[in-house]
Amino acid sequence: MTPAFLSLRDAMAQQVRDGMTVALEGFTHLIPFAAGHELIRQRRRGLTLVRMTPDLIYDQMIGMGCASSLTFSWGGNPGVGSLHRLRDAIENGWPHALAIDEHSHAGMAVRYSAGASGLPFGMLKGYVGTDLPAANAARISNVTCPFTGERLTALPAIQPDVTILHAQRADREGNVWLRGIVGASREAAMAARAIVVTVEEVVGDLGAPMNAFVIPGWQVAAIAHVPGGAYPSYALGHYARDNAFYLAWDEIARSRESFTAWMGEHVLGTTDHAGFLRSVGAVT
């Protein structure tokens, strides 16, 4: 049936509760920043956050105290350097301790794919000879091929309570079309118990070509219409990645004080994403 079309505030309040396992996916492209900011405004706590690349959005959510645990595979500011809030949480436990469940990209892809496929685990040729298995022994194991005897690395499936995506377009039936770099978004969505999507636009006819990445509406729990919802990440065909903002974030997030002040002014100090965009000068 058709998903609920809700305001972003209602969608987040209805779908995400403290203590849940939540994946805000999108690989560099289509990162659901607006949804993450709304979760910060709603003061969610104790979340297990899952993302291949935590990126600025989880740096912000971790720094604001939303997360008790992080599952990830590469935790930097791409092309810039560190995620200072992520580092502060792991190195110093600020604002509180953060448990980590760390993998490689290939491993995270396998875990999402297994979850999307309804399998309890997935496997890959990887991690062999590295220190990853010892560092995360509870979630890295082995299986032996019953035909060849080859030993493979086994990883448990990820099935988030909620996967949140941003997409360019939904139609009025709630079918969602993602276009461009999709990362592991589809797998993260199909793995989830509930799928929530923010979109740039809602149209009558989706207009997607044959074989496009379309998530059928009957699988989607809620849709919020949030233009600019991926900013400072990007939405191909709508706006580019604000690389200058990613460069600027390095300085903003470097100290607890400047981070807290910035979040207070631009996220907690605004009531919705349009307000955030005006506040940081992304719209005039």
């Binding site: 079309f5 930097g76 792991i90 990209h105 892809a109 461009g180 770099i181 949030v226 990613y246 992304a282």
Partner: protein, 255 residues
């Protein structure tokens, strides 16, 4: 012939020269991306670049800041789900050259990009593995590009993120290759004006030096201008703030 150049430029040029035309390269952000695109814009126009974001056969005109910039999607032959990059391409053995950097490297070429200090209570938490362990394991040839210092070329890694046994390590001082029998990284070439003694000083273990150390020719004028143009275009592109014009109002309740 060639103008003055920096050690970084020399390193990038030396790395680019390693790539034969038509090779399929799995490209990381930073120095590897610069080297691969320099090769593509000079001697290897049919180099196939794969970025882990899912872009296959991409031909960016500026270097991406992130590994998933729109430029990569828009200039790609094919944009596919990320899991398939790791399964259908890398793990299936369809990648010729994997390019890696790291925070630490040891004498057999194993790499650390995870932590400095203890994993459970790190002194410095680094970004982590990303695509590196599987690039190192599955690319037919692994190349490492990283600046060489005694602090980063270490006797003992703080964490083994990848074990790749690279075919070559291209640094800002020269090139190390594994000894055919012991697999220990050995200095086989230096750049113009760099002595083997200087390279040994910038290494945390007693670096072996090959019987015959080659000298790598400096960048040609064409290589240098191509690289500098690429960096200039990139810098200009990344400095521009993005403005979202004509943002429509959100619609709360639709059908």
């Amino acid at each position: 012939m060639s103008a003055t150049y920096t050690p970084d430029e020399m390193m990038t040029v030396a790395a680019a020269r390693r790539l034969r035309n038509g090779a399929v390269c799995f490209v990381g952000i930073g120095l590897p991306s610069a080297a691969c695109n320099l090769a593509r814009l000079t001697h290897a126009p049919e180099l196939v670049l794969i970025y882990e974001s899912g872009t296959v056969g991409t031909r960016p005109s500026v270097l991406p800041l992130s590994i998933g910039d729109g430029e990569l999607a828009e200039t790609a032959r094919s944009v596919i789900p990320l899991p398939e990059i790791f399964t259908h391409y890398l793990q299936r053995g369809r990648v010729d050259v994997g390019f890696l950097g790291a925070a630490q490297i040891d004498r057999v070429g194993d790499l650390n990009s995870t932590v400095i200090g203890d994993y459970a209570k790190p002194k410095v938490r680094l970004p982590g593995a990303g695509g590196a362990p599987e690039i190192a394991a599955h690319a037919k040839t692994v190349l490492v590009v990283m600046k060489q210092t005694a602090r980063t070329f270490v006797e003992q890694l703080d964490f083994r993120t990848s074990t790749g046994r690279p075919a070559a390590v291209i640094t800002d001082l020269g090139v190390l290759e594994p000894d055919p029998s012991s697999r220990e990284l050995t200095l086989v070439a230096t750049y113009d004006g760099v002595t083997p003694a200087a390279v040994r000083t910038a290494c945390g273990w007693p670096l072996r030096v090959a019987a015959k150390v080659a000298t790598i020719p400096p960048p040609t004028a064409h290589e240098l201008s191509t690289l500098r143009d690429l960096h200039a275009r990139t810098k200009a592109a990344h400095a521009a703030r993005v403005a979202l014009s004509h943002l429509p109002s959100p619609i709360s309740h639709l059908p």
